[in-house]
Subunit: 344 residues, 4 copies
C-alpha cells in the first residue's frame, strides 16, 4: 500500500498532491530493561509531540558537542538548588561550554555548596490556608524554593566567604566587570572547597575559573550575591560595571566558527544568550531550548526559537528545537544521550 494511501479507494481518480506533510511515518517507541539513554532518545524519534522534539534536541546538541562549535549556555531559574550543578560543572570541565550566562541565584547556591552548605528535599506547602507552613519555616530560619529547603545559616557562611576571600581582592581593582566577580568567586570556591575537603564538588564557578570559561550574570544585583556586593560597596570603594562584559562576549561571537546556544529555562539568561548575536556578524547555527513556560502567553521565557530567527539571532538555516517539559528531567537526559552519541 502506498504511504499516502493513493489508490486505496480503487477508483483510480487522481488525488491532489499533498504538500503539507512528508512521507515520514510515525513509528512507536519501545521501552525495555537495560536501554541506554542514547537508545531511549532514538526511540523518542519514533514518536510524536514532545518525544520527537526531545529526539531532535539530542541530535542538535550532539552536533554542538563537536570541537568547532562555540557553545553559549543559558542557565536560568533554580537549576543549581534543584540538582543540576554537577552536570553543568562537568560540561564546563569537558570543554562543552564556551560561555555561561546564568543568574545570581544559581551562583549563590553553587557557592554555598562549594564551601560546605547543603540544600534539602522538603515538601511543597499549599498556596492558601496553610501558609502557616511558610511562617513556621521563617521562624525556624529555613528558606524554601518550591520543594528545596535551605537553612539560613548557610547564608551567613556565604557572607563570610565573600567578605573574606572574594570582595577584598576585587576592591583593590576598584570597579570591575561582573564576569570578573564570577571569576574571582570561582577561584575562591575552588580554593576553599579544596582546603576544607568539602564532600560536594567545587561546582560551576570553580570549574569555569579553572577552565577559563567566562560566566556572565547580567542581573547579578538581583540575588543574594548581588545584595552582598552592594552591602560591601557601602563601606569599600568597590563596584560593578554593568556594561563591561559585553566586550568579551561579543568578541567570542566574532571569533567563532560555528555557534550553538543551549538554553535551559527562560528569563534573562535566555534573552542574553540570544541577543548577543544582534551585535555579532553571524547568528546561532544550532540552538536547543529546554523550558516549561508556555509560548502562548507571549512572555519571553516561553517564546519559540523561531521567533528569535525573525530578530536575526538565529541563522536562517539554523537547526533549532524547543522541548516543553521540566528541565530537571530533560537536561540530564539530553546530556547523557548526546554524550553517548558522540562517544560512539
Amino acid at each position: 500500500m502506498s504511504d499516502d494511501g493513493t489508490g486505496e479507494d480503487g477508483a483510480g481518480h487522481e488525488q491532489p498532491p499533498r504538500e503539507a506533510f512528508g512521507h515520514d511515518p510515525i513509528g512507536h517507541a519501545e521501552a525495555q530493561a537495560g536501554t541506554t539513554v542514547g537508545e531511549l532518545a532514538t526511540e523518542y524519534g519514533e514518536a510524536g509531540v514532545g518525544a520527537a522534539d526531545m529526539h531532535e534536541a539530542v541530535d542538535i546538541y550532539a552536533d554542538m558537542l563537536e570541537e568547532d562549535v562555540t557553545v553559549v549556555m543559558g542557565l536560568a531559574g533554580a537549576m543549581v538548588p534543584s540538582g543540576m550543578r554537577r552536570i553543568v560543572a562537568n560540561l564546563i570541565r569537558d570543554g562543552h561550554v564556551d560561555a555561561l550566562v546564568t543568574t545570581g541565584a544559581n551562583l549563590t547556591h553553587d557557592t554555598i555548596e562549594a564551601i560546605g552548605g547543603k540544600h534539602h528535599h522538603g515538601p511543597v506547602p499549599d498556596e492558601k490556608r496553610e501558609r502557616d507552613h511558610d511562617e513556621q519555616l521563617r521562624e525556624e530560619g529555613v528558606d524554601r524554593i518550591y520543594n528545596v529547603y535551605l537553612p539560613q545559616e548557610h547564608f551567613t557562611l556565604f557572607e563570610s566567604h565573600l567578605r573574606e576571600t572574594v570582595f577584598p581582592a576585587l576592591a583593590e581593582e576598584g570597579t570591575v566587570s561582573i564576569q570578573r566577580l564570577t571569576e574571582k568567586l570561582g577561584e575562591a570556591n575552588a580554593a576553599v572547597n579544596d582546603e576544607e575537603g568539602v564532600d560536594e564538588g567545587s561546582g560551576i564557578a570553580a570549574a569555569a575559573f579553572e577552565s577559563d570559561v567566562p560566566i556572565y550574570c547580567p542581573a547579578v544585583q538581583d540575588s543574594v550575591l548581588g545584595l552582598q556586593a552592594w552591602m560591601y560597596n557601602q563601606t569599600a570603594d568597590f563596584s560593578l560595571d554593568a556594561l563591561a562584559d559585553m566586550d568579551t562576549l561579543t568578541d567570542q561571537a566574532f571569533d567563532a566558527d560555528r555557534t550553538g546556544a543551549l538554553v535551559v529555562g527562560g528569563g534573562v539568561p535566555k534573552n542574553y544568550v540570544l541577543q548577543t548575536m544582534l551585535v555579532a556578524p553571524g547568528a546561532y547555527d544550532l540552538a536547543v531550548q529546554l523550558t516549561m513556560d508556555p509560548p502562548q502567553t507571549g512572555g519571553l521565557s516561553g517564546a519559540t526559537l523561531d521567533e528569535a530567527r525573525s530578530w536575526g539571532k538565529l541563522e536562517t538555516a539554523a537547526r533549532n528545537v524547543s522541548v516543553y517539559a521540566d528541565a530537571t528531567i530533560t537536561l540530564p537526559l539530553l546530556v547523557a544521550a548526546a554524550r553517548e552519541r558522540v562517544e560512539e
Copy 2:
C-alpha cells in the same frame, strides 16, 4: 558539620528544632555516556523538582510491576497517534496491565495502524493568519493532531474493517457492553494484522484481546469509532450499554490484593480509573500520574492524586506521585527504568 547547620555559628546557643524539612540533602545528578535509563532515574533521585518526582514515579511503578498488584491503567489523549502504542501493547502482553481505560480516539488510531494505515510527522501550523494551512490540509484530505498527520482514506479503511469484521458479529448479540466492543475489535485487529502481514504490530486492542485484559472506554461515542458504531446502529439492531462495564471493573477491584493506578494524561480515563474505588471496598495502594496539565486551573486533568485521597480513591497510606511533564517523554522513560529495576 551537622546537616542542619547547628553549631555553624560556633555560639552554642540552642536552635529551635526544625520539623518542616527532613535531613535529606539534595545531591546533584550526573549524566554520562552509556548511562542506562534505570541509572538515569537513580540520578534524578539526587535532584529536586520534577526530577525527584520522576525518580519517585519509577520507584512506585517498579513496585506496581510486581505480580500481586492489580494495575489499572488510564491512557488519555492522543497517546497512540503520538507513538506510545508499542509500549502500551508490550506492557499488556507482559502482564503488567490488568485493565485499561482509554479513549475512542486511541482505539481508532490503534486499529488504523493494526490494519495497515499510518500516521505521519508533520509541522505545527500557527493559530491565526496561517489557518490557510489547515484549510489546505482539509482540501488535501489530511487530518491533523498537533504535529501528527493522518490521511483521511485511512478512515475509509477503518470503516470497512468495522462494518465487515467487527459490527456484524456484535449485532447478533444485540446490545453489548462497550468492553465487548473493544474485545471484538482487538480480535479483528489481530486477525487482519496477521492475514495481511502488516509491518506494524497488531497493537493495543489486539494485545488486550489475546491477553484477556479488558479495555474500558466510557466515552466511546465521542470518537470516530463511536460515530461508526452509531451509523451502523441506524440500520442494524445493535447498540451499546453505557452501564454494563462497571460490573467487571468493580469485580476486579473487589478481587484485587494490592492495586495500582498508572494514569497517563487526564480526562475521562483518569477519572474513571480513580472513581472505580468509590464502589470498591479498598482504594489504590500505588498511583503514578504523568500529566502536563497544570493543577492550579482546578480542572480534573491536572488535579493532584492527593485530591483523590480526600475522596477515598487512594488509600490513606498509598504511595503516589504526579510528574508534570510531557507524557510522550516520561512514559517511555518510566517504563524502561522500572523494567530495568525489576529485572535486576
Copy 3:
C-alpha cells in the same frame, strides 16, 4: 509617518513589500473606574497577546447570541462546583444555548445544589508531605475539588433524590438515552427546588428541561451520577443506551442555519461538540474556546480550533479564537461583555 515606516531613513531606497503583517497598530488599553465589562473588552482590542484574543472572543460570541445561530456549548471540568452554574443556567433560559454537552460531574454538582446542598471555599493543600490534609478530610467526610469542598452527606441526599424521583420513572421506560436521563433529572431538580424552597436556583439541568434544550453527557458513567445509575441498574431493569443521543444532536446540526460552538474547557465535551460536524453537512461558522490547557502537549484539551478545521469540524471561513486563561475568569467576562454588546 507611514505605518510601516518606509521613508523613515530618508534615503529613498526601496524596501521589499511586507506581507507578513498588516497595518494594524497596537494601541494601549485603559482601565478606569466605572468601566463596564463591554468597554473593558473594547480596551482589550487595543492590546496584544491574550487580551487581543479575549476581545476577538467577545466579538465572535456576540455574533453567536444572534437568533439565527444554533449554539452548541461544551462545559467541561469542574465548572459547576467552581461557580459557573448560574451563568450557564441563565444562558439556557435566555435562549442562547441550543444544546449543552457536559460531564456527569457537572450534573452531579448542579443537582446537589438544586436540592439544597452546598459547596464551600477551602484551602489548596500541598502535594507531598502534608497529604495529612486530605487524610483528615477523608476522616471528616469532606471531598475536595482543588479549593472547593463538599461534605459527603450531600452525596447521600443526591442518592435519595435519584432513587426516589428520577430512576423509577426511567426504569419504566427500560433502556433510555443519556439525554433522557438528563431531561428527567432536570424535571426532578426543578420540582424539588420549587417544593422545598431552596435558596439556590434550580440550575442548569432544570433550566434545560424547562427550555427544551437537550443536555448530552457522553461519559455519564464516569461520574457519581453514572455510578448511581449503575447501582440502580443492579436491581432494576434499567439501562442507558450509549449511542442513542447522536440522532438528535445530528438532527440539530442538519437543521441549523448558522452554527456556533462555545467550548469551555477541554475533554470529552470539547471533542463531542466538534465531532458532531463530522456527520453533518456543514461545519461550525463561529467558535470560541476558553481553556488553560497548553496546546504544545499535543493533548486534545489544549488543541487549537484551527486543528479542528483540518478535520472539517469548522468551516474554512469560520471565525474562531481560543483564549488561554482560567475559564472561571474568562467565562463571566465573555458573557457579560457579549450581552452588553448585543443589548446596545
Copy 4:
C-alpha cells in the same frame, strides 16, 4: 439547614468537627449586560478557583491604592509591546506606583512609541516547518514578539534618540546608576513626544520622570537599550554602575509605612521587587501577583508568594494572592475594578 449539613440525615448522631473548611459556601457568578468591571470582580467572589483569586486580588489591590501604602511594581516580559503601556503610565501619574522595576525590553518599546514608532498586530507563525515565516520577516526587516510585530527601522529611530538626547548628557556625569539612565530617558521621551506631537502618549518612563517615581532595571544590559548603551560606551567615557540603585530602593523600603507589591509577570522584576525586603526592616504587607507561569516547575516566575514568606520578603500576616492567567487580561481587569472600588 445548617451549612455543613449536620442533621441532614436526621439521625442525630454526632459528626466529627470539621476543621478543614470554613462555612463559606460557594455561590454562583452572574454576568449581565451593563455590569461594571468592579461588579464583575464582586461576582468572581461568588465563584471558586481562579475567579476567587481574581476577586481577592482586586480586594488587596484596592487596599494598595490607599495613600499610605508604598507600592513597588514589577513589570516583566513583553507587557509594553502587548499593550499595557497606558495603564501603567496612568497608575504612575495618579500616584499609585512608588517605584517601578522593569526590563530593558519594556523601556525600549516604551521609548519607541514615545518618539513615534508603532507595534503591530500580526499572526503567530508555527514552530516547525513554517519557520519560512520568520525567515521572511527577517528579510523584510520585521521583528516579532509572539503576535506583535515591530519594523526594524524603529530601532534606528531609537538609536538616534539615545545618541542625540540621552547618552551625551549622561556621559558628562561619567558612571551613573541605571535609575539615572531611566530617569534621563523619561525626560527625553517626554520632551520629544511633546515637541513632535506624537499621537501616542509619552509613556511609562516619561510619566515616571514627571512624577519623581524611580524606575529600576537590574538587567538593563539584557536589552536593545543596554546594547545601545554599551555601543556608546565604546567611544565615550560613560558607564553604568550595577549596584548604585539599591541605595534608593532600600531607602524607600525603610521609610515606608505600609508596603505593597504588585508583580506583573515573573523574571527579574518579580524577584527584585521581593528581595528588596531582605535588606529592609519590614516586609510586604500586601502583595498581588499576576502570572501565567505554572508553580510546579520550581522556577522563580511561577513561584507562589507564600514561598516568599519563608524568606521574610512578605510579612507573616501579609495579605497576598497569585492569579494564574494571562496578565494582559487580568491587569486591565484588576486596575479598573480596584479603581472603581476606591472611587466609590
